[in-house]
Symmetry: C2
Subunit: 178 residues, 2 copies
């Protein structure tokens, strides 16, 4: 798929999925897209666990009571960073940015390959959800699952959220209240 088409079609999908599996070739292609994202000082800090084991997926699906994409996902990608990221430049770490850039590449790859997903983030940080999934995936104590992507073939039309127009968020040469 052409880049700008993929960017235009990508949107957060919280609907149901068909029974179709997500093949390992496609899952690897999606994660390879993530590996190619930039990272602070090229440290490539994000790690990925790709889940396609039905028993593990069944346990994870039962955890999210309000997100149909999580409940019905045919595969999941867990994006993992250090629990206490090391400062690599003037006291700063870039692991959150590294992970987000990798995820954006993967969202576009998911879209181009005909699947759908949603960036699940805040939910992981409450009620021990990240640690519970981390336990299922043998994530070490020094690491934390920062983002998960539940993936499948979309079974329904799910509305693409409205975006503000260019003039409300972008300006030439001088910031404006817009």
């Amino acid at each position: 798929m052409e880049l700008f088409e993929a960017i235009g079609r990508r949107h957060s999908y919280r609907g149901g999925f068909t029974d179709s599996a997500v093949g390992r070739g496609d899952l690897q292609a999606i994660v390879e897209a993530g590996l190619k994202a930039p990272s602070g000082k090229n440290e490539q800090t994000t790690r990925f666990v790709i889940v396609d084991d039905e028993a593990v997926l069944a346990a994870i699906r039962a955890m999210h009571p309000s997100n149909k994409a999580m409940q019905q996902c045919r595969a999941m990608i867990a994006c993992i960073v250090d629990a206490e990221p090391e400062a690599i430049y003037e006291g700063y770490s870039f692991q959150v940015e590294d992970c987000a850039a990798a995820v954006e590449n993967m969202l576009l790859a998911v879209t181009a390959l005909g699947y759908a997903t949603v960036w699940v983030d805040g939910w992981l940080r409450v009620k021990g959800n990240a640690a519970a999934i981390g336990g299922l995936l043998a994530v070490p104590k020094a690491k934390v699952i920062r983002i998960v992507l539940p993936i499948g073939v979309p079974a329904e039309k799910y509305p693409q959220p409205k975006k503000k127009p260019f003039t409300e968020r972008a300006y030439f040469n001088k910031y404006s209240a817009g």
Copy 2:
């Protein structure tokens, strides 16, 4: 350009630029790609100032003594977030992630349109650099420039950094020391 080709070609470019201008149509297309990125609760928090005024660019170019792409950029996109981001979910803000996802879309758009750029981030946080550029662009006190992208037509071959292989960063179903 096809999505996976753009993802494969994108890399941090710190080399020089030709004298060719970056047209406003292309600059707008690049920022539109950023606007379409996902954001926490679809809050679309990142704002963008696109710099193509030669007087402003000249002042910014003089600031970075070690990055040729900054010194020779024909245009620049400043990505702006709140200085004190508001918590929007269980005490968490997602403005860093929002900004990084928008930047990744823009890096791919820059690549597809035949330009080059580099994600400049840590440098902004030291020696008052973000505030100095913010002053030139009339960025309000409550906002901060988090990332800038110096853009132009690449004038040289610049090596693409090596990336670790899939097996060192990604695993199926269980985290592994890799």
